[in-house]
């Protein structure tokens, strides 16, 4: 479970630290431009780097530096809890004076203060999990993550577990018009706008039970929906088709691309819930880290009537899988439903804003005393969080 994220000198995140709450669902609220999406972007770039999905110059170009200051070093930290143990991952990127080159200044991973990996000045130092002292040291490319390059071995199970936890983090801003209806290969990782939804669906639907449960749930969500079918489309590609019950019991088949944006959004949202238990691309024994799902405005494109059913489905699914959801929303349905008094088991809420010098800041939101206006009305006035 993500305990804390820290970023310094990344766009509007200057000495920014956030500890998500204990709720299964953390709702991120705040005005446009307050830095909510930037937090997701930061998390995604660190995740991609630490799991080997990109090099430092691809993921941390000069455009990611805070523009109103002239500081050459970006710093990031992630803390992740696993049954009482706390993993601490640190990354510092240094930009050369002319901003042409970037490289790792240091990358460190420790658990409960005990180092597992240290990568500094171009040299990797590895430490035993159950022994004290350094196991080995060797030079390494300062543009890449040393953690990502470690093969999963018997003596680095903790490092591997943490990397799998990062791999199981999905950060998405779903844009239905960008979803391709065809797929050339299975894809275990959804891309940022979920443009590869069909390829990802091919991956998760290898688990036929999961595909069946998803389609069964969609029969309640999409009137008339019957099932999906992946049909060959040329020598290598597959086309996703949705079947609906038409008049007089005749089946109507529609390509995924011909569905409405709202229908595709609903399908994507419910598929993500069912995919929470999908086999990860990198496996790690039976002690599989639970997923972290980060969604930027998932209530776009869908009708108000769909929001509460989806949120309650999320609650149930997160409860079953121990996964967590960080979600950015401006929708009154989400705001009023989340900002209710409870044990804090289901929801935590945070307000993002900009400080006087422009940097993002965050504070927990708690339910107001009775007698006032709805939280969504307060949000519409810009009064929430004040």
């Amino acid at each position: 479970m993500l305990k804390r994220i820290y970023a310094d000198n990344f766009k509007c995140l200057v000495n920014f630290a956030w500890e998500p709450g204990p709720g299964h669902i953390n709702l991120m609220l705040g005005p446009n431009g307050s830095g909510k999406t930037t937090v997701f972007e930061c998390l995604e770039r660190v995740r991609a780097f630490a799991t080997g999905d990109g090099k430092v110059d691809e993921l941390f170009p000069p455009s990611t530096l805070t523009q109103w200051q002239d500081v050459p070093i970006q710093k990031f930290a992630i803390e992740w809890e696993r049954e009482g143990e706390v993993f601490h991952y640190e990354l510092a990127i240094v930009h050369t004076k002319n901003r042409v080159h970037q490289e790792v200044q240091h990358e460190r991973l420790s658990v409960d203060g005990k180092p597992l990996l240290r990568f500094e000045t171009g040299e990797v130092h590895l430490y035993g999990e159950n022994t004290s002292g350094e196991m080995s040291a060797y030079p390494f490319d300062p543009r890449q993550s040393a953690m990502a390059s470690q093969p999963p071995l018997w003596n680095n199970t903790k490092l591997t577990w943490f990397r799998v936890a990062l791999r199981r983090t999905k950060i998405l801003q779903i844009v239905p018009p960008m979803m391709d209806e065809t797929s050339f290969e299975e894809s275990p990782r959804p891309l940022g706008y979920f443009q590869n939804f069909v390829s990802w669906y091919r991956w998760i639907s290898q688990d036929q039970g999961m595909a069946f449960r998803l389609q069964k749930e969609l029969t309640e969500v999409l009137p008339g929906f019957s099932h999906f079918k992946l049909e060959p489309y040329g020598p290598e590609a597959k086309l996703l088709k949705a079947f609906f019950q038409g008049q007089a019991g005749r089946a109507v088949e529609l390509s995924f691309g011909s569905l409405s944006d709202g229908q595709r959004m609903l399908i994507a949202l419910y598929a993500l819930l069912h995919g929470l238990a999908a086999q990860p691309e990198e496996t790690y024994g039976n002690d599989l880290p639970s997923e972290l799902l980060c969604l930027d405005e998932p209530d776009n494109f869908i009708a108000s009537r769909e929001i509460q059913p989806w949120l309650t489905a999320v609650e149930d699914r997160l409860f079953e899988t121990k996964a967590r959801l960080l979600v950015i929303s401006h929708h009154p349905e989400s705001i009023d439903y989340a900002l209710i008094p409870s044990s804090g088991e289901a929801y935590s809420a945070f307000w993002f804003s900009r400080g006087e010098s422009g940097q993002t800041r965050v504070q927990p939101l708690v339910a107001d005393e009775p007698g006032g206006l709805k939280p969504s009305e307060l949000a519409a006035r810009g009064w929430l969080g004040s």
């Binding site: 969500v221 009137p223 409860f319 439903y337 008094p341 409870s342 009775p370 007698g371």
Partner: protein
């Protein structure tokens, strides 16, 4: 094929009520998409006023549509220190139900924690005692499942009067959805 409208509206005082009812309904085939809970306000004590204030509006909307679409209204309102009759009368001051309307009034006495405590232990409970809240609302799932008609559990003869009345109300609007009540 399901219709794309809310079939059951829940009007209740707080999150524990909602989690309890949603779980019960889900176990009886009413999934997320068929149920809507009115978002209740923040702050302790305000849920009670909210239910009283919104009850009549919900009844009006229910009557406008119930002849055309298949809908039901479930209202949960704690008795606290009042009798069930007093609580029912207080609600029905603003709208009296007809016997054939699919509007159920569930009036836990003293409150939902009394029912949860009974379902946990199965023994007699005192409907005037304020029992402790659960640490997490979803901790009630396993005991709520005992109320479902498909569950093998049989309620003991000590079932509190307010729970017995509530089961009858639910059976009236959703037939075959509750366990058999002991004589």
């Amino acid at each position: 094929m399901s219709e794309n409208y809310t079939e059951i509206v829940i009007l209740c005082e707080g999150r524990q009520d909602e989690v309890f009812l949603r779980r019960f309904l889900k176990q009886n085939g009413y999934g997320h998409h068929r149920v809507r809970c009115r978002p209740y306000p923040a702050g302790s004590g305000s849920g009670k006023q909210f239910v009283q204030a919104e009850y009549a509006k919900e009844v009006v909307e229910h009557r406008r549509r119930a002849t055309r679409i298949n809908i039901a209204l479930i209202v949960m309102h704690d008795c606290d220190t009042r009798t069930m009759e007093e609580s029912r009368a207080m609600l029905e001051q603003s709208a009296v139900r007809h016997p054939n309307e699919r509007i159920a009034l569930l009036l836990p006495k003293r409150n939902i924690e009394t029912w949860i405590h009974f379902l946990q232990d199965g023994g007699p409970v005192d409907e005037s005692t304020p029992y402790r809240k659960l640490p997490r609302e979803s901790d009630c799932h396993s005991v709520v499942d005992r109320l479902g008609a498909k569950h093998e559990y049989r309620l003991s003869a000590d079932v509190p009067s307010s729970l017995r009345a509530a089961c009858l109300e639910i059976q009236r609007i959703l037939p075959k959805s509750c366990v058999e009540l002991p004589e």
